[in-house]
């Protein structure tokens, strides 16, 4: 006796064929088979559509279809630590009169070649305090820094061209030019002193490296120019162009492998 079959005593009374047919009418019906076949065909068709659907190829030059790496930009990443700021070695000059006792270790000011010390030329030139657009020397400097109200000799000392001058008339060396900028840009100066403003390199737990304001901002034309961005990340559809054949060609047999191969060659 099967342990799971029903006890014969509780079967429905009467076992004539009519009742048996009614009891198992579903078993005798053929309705399921065409439905199953139709279902299987539909499923297969849908799957075929999904698999065969080829991704729309982007036009030539569309961004984010090619993966770039830092090695593609040697200008940005080639030189080790291009602009990293002064270290402990760059102790800065001896404090000038009136300078705060805390000095920031900054690199040397980024003078143009041969331009400093300025007095080697200006020793013999009588200072001309008239506001004007310069002709001849220094005409390459186009002042675009509150030029409506200020001009060269508001920051450069008239008599000692090797130094800068504050609004009070006090002189300060170029190595402390941040004090000059801080006169008007007090918020930025305050932030710079605590390390919030400016490019930050060095050690968070020790010697931070400071840059002079002018290491980043051209004092005559301080606004940063727009620059070209590095390329966007590759879109997920094009994540692995060299082996796109593995994924997409398997979906659309043959031609995608060709395209994947061409894309790899073009890289």
């Amino acid at each position: 006796m099967s342990p799971m079959s029903s006890d014969p005593s509780t079967d429905a009374p009467g076992t004539d064929t009519g009742a048996a047919d009614q009891e198992f009418s579903i078993a005798r019906s053929n309705a399921l088979i065409p439905l199953l076949i139709l279902f299987a065909v539909t499923v297969f068709g849908v799957l075929a559509v999904i698999v065969r659907a080829k991704p729309v190829e982007p036009p030539e030059g569309t961004p984010a279809t090619k993966a770039f790496g830092p090695a593609d930009f040697p200008a940005v990443f080639g030189a080790a630590e291009a602009l990293t700021g002064g270290g402990a070695a760059d102790g800065g000059s001896a404090a000038s009169p009136g300078a705060p006792t805390v000095l920031f270790p900054v690199p040397a000011p980024p003078f143009s070649e041969g331009i400093f010390p300025c007095m080697q030329c200006h020793e013999g030139i009588p200072p001309n305090p008239e506001r004007r657009v310069l002709e001849g020397m220094h005409s390459d400097i186009v002042l675009h820094h509150d030029e409506e109200h200020r001009w060269c000799l508001d920051c450069h000392d008239q008599n000692d061209r090797n130094q800068l001058r504050l609004a009070s008339g006090a002189l300060l060396p170029f190595t402390e030019s941040y004090r000059l900028c801080g006169q008007c840009h007090g918020t930025q100066f305050r932030d710079w002193k605590s390390g919030i403003h400016g490019k930050r390199t060095g050690y968070w737990s020790g010697s931070k490296r400071y840059l002079l304001c002018v290491n980043c901002h051209n004092p005559h034309h301080p606004r940063f120019a727009a620059l070209a961005p590095l390329p966007p990340p590759v879109r997920p559809q094009y994540l692995h162009p060299a082996e796109a054949a593995v994924g997409h060609a398997a979906s659309a047999s043959g031609s995608a492998a060709q395209e994947g191969g061409d894309a790899a060659d073009a890289r």
Partner: protein
């Protein structure tokens, strides 16, 4: 009879069959090999052979896993009438539901295994041997409850078959508590799987309290639908006798589940569309597309349409009892829940992603091949287990063994010690 003999005897059952049987098994084995080769390719190249990317990091495999956990949980639809209400027409066939549960759980585990980036490190999940982040990780819970549920069903089925082959009744003190425990376990596996999704606040489409009830309702629609179809196939291919009553009762229970399923879907849709917050965008992607991306829209409307049609067919007793409309309804609800759990749950959860990017995912041939292979494994397990269980259920095996015993008794010196069955 020792366990080895039991295995050997079962194996003999499984290996007997006519042309149709071997054709079916042959097709399944071919699909398994085809899928297996695709998986080997995936092992070689990595998951890059799929279309999953950072933006959509779970897709076809996990969608199938989620659907199949529901199918496994639906065995409870047979177990409750059979063992709590002792309703004979279903009690006779409850084991088929448990066999379906075993096949479904095996498929679930295979889908998770093929989705893992490092299957060689699966042992990290074994508590004690590895390091399981329990109770914090829902995935750890899922591993435990799925294995527990598989173990429960395997124990019950093995015991029933073992005793059946021996010709003895099953031990109620072992089976009944296990079966009764499998009811909350079944609810548990699907609830834990739902919590896996619902517990992620970074994915607002899933982070809804309604998710677990929705999972359970759709599970109780789709699982029994498969069972009804399998019952009919078994009736045609074997001598098993399943009463119409059993099928109609299951269909009636499905009708209730379908109603709740549609109600909960409606509740979700109302909440998102009426509130109109940022989170609406996921449902919009599903039902109308966003920013020119609308790959899922036809599937979304198909699943809603199929779900409503199936509910209407099952609502009215006339169509519920008509064999053609019954089967049509089963196929419609199966398709509806399959699409809902796969494309309708996993993909929109990731689209748009957390940073607003829309990456349109479609499965690759590799994924479909591996999926087909795993489904074939499940079908094969179901076929083999039924091959063993059905002759016992129908009394064929007992009759054959009794005939053998009677025949062999002529050869024995001490006749009469083996009475005829």
């Amino acid at each position: 009879m020792g366990p080895l003999t039991f295995i050997a005897t079962s194996a003999r059952f499984a290996l007997r069959g006519g042309k149709a049987y071997w054709l079916w098994v042959g097709c399944l084995l071919a699909l398994i090999v085809w899928g297996g080769l695709a998986y080997l390719d995936q092992l070689r190249h990595g998951l890059i052979v799929t279309n999953m990317r950072d933006q959509v990091s779970w897709a076809f495999y996990i969608g199938n896993f989620t659907f199949l956990v529901g199918v496994a949980a639906a065995a409870v639809v047979l177990v409750i009438p059979a063992y709590i209400y002792h309703w004979k027409p279903i009690k006779e066939v409850a084991i088929l539901g448990e066999i379906l549960a075993i096949s479904a759980i095996i498929m679930c585990m295979l889908f998770v295994a093929v989705d893992m980036g490092r299957p060689d490190r699966a042992w990290h999940l074994i508590p004690g041997v590895g390091r399981m982040n329990f109770p914090s990780s829902l995935l750890a819970w899922d591993v435990l409850v799925l294995n527990l549920y598989l173990f429960l069903n395997l124990t019950i089925v093995t015991h029933l078959l073992y005793r059946g082959i021996q010709g003895r009744a099953y031990n109620t003190r072992l089976v009944v508590p296990l079966v009764l425990f499998s009811i909350p376990a079944a609810v548990g596996i699907h609830t834990v799987t739902a919590f896996l999704y619902a517990g992620l606040p970074g994915r607002p489409y899933w982070n809804a309290s309604i998710l677990a009830p929705r999972f359970l309702c759709s599970a109780f629609c789709s699982g029994p639908a498969i069972m009804l179809i399998l019952f009919q196939i078994l009736q045609r291919t074997t001598k098993i006798a399943i009463k119409d009553e059993a099928i109609w009762k299951v269909a009636e229970l499905m009708a209730y589940a379908m109603f709740l399923n549609l109600l909960l879907l409606g509740a979700e849709i109302f909440k998102e569309y009426y509130s109109g917050t940022e989170h609406l965008i996921h449902l919009q992607y599903l039902f109308s597309g966003v920013r020119g991306h609308h790959a899922l829209v036809p599937y979304a409307w198909t699943y809603v349409g199929c779900g409503i049609a199936a509910f209407l067919l099952f609502l009215f007793p006339a169509t519920r009892r008509n064999v053609f409309t019954l089967n049509l309804g089963c196929l419609l609800i199966y398709a509806s829940v399959y699409i809902e759990k796969g494309m309708g749950l996993v993909i929109p959860g990731f689209t748009p992603d957390t940073l607003g990017e829309v990456y349109e995912y479609t499965p690759t041939l590799h994924e479909l091949r591996i999926g087909a292979g795993i489904f074939s494994v499940g079908f094969l397990v179901f076929t083999l287990l039924c091959r063993i269980a059905v002759p016992i259920l129908t009394g064929e095996f007992a009759a054959a063994r009794a005939a053998a015993a009677e025949k062999s008794s002529h050869w024995l010196p001490h006749t009469g010690s083996a009475p005829a069955g």
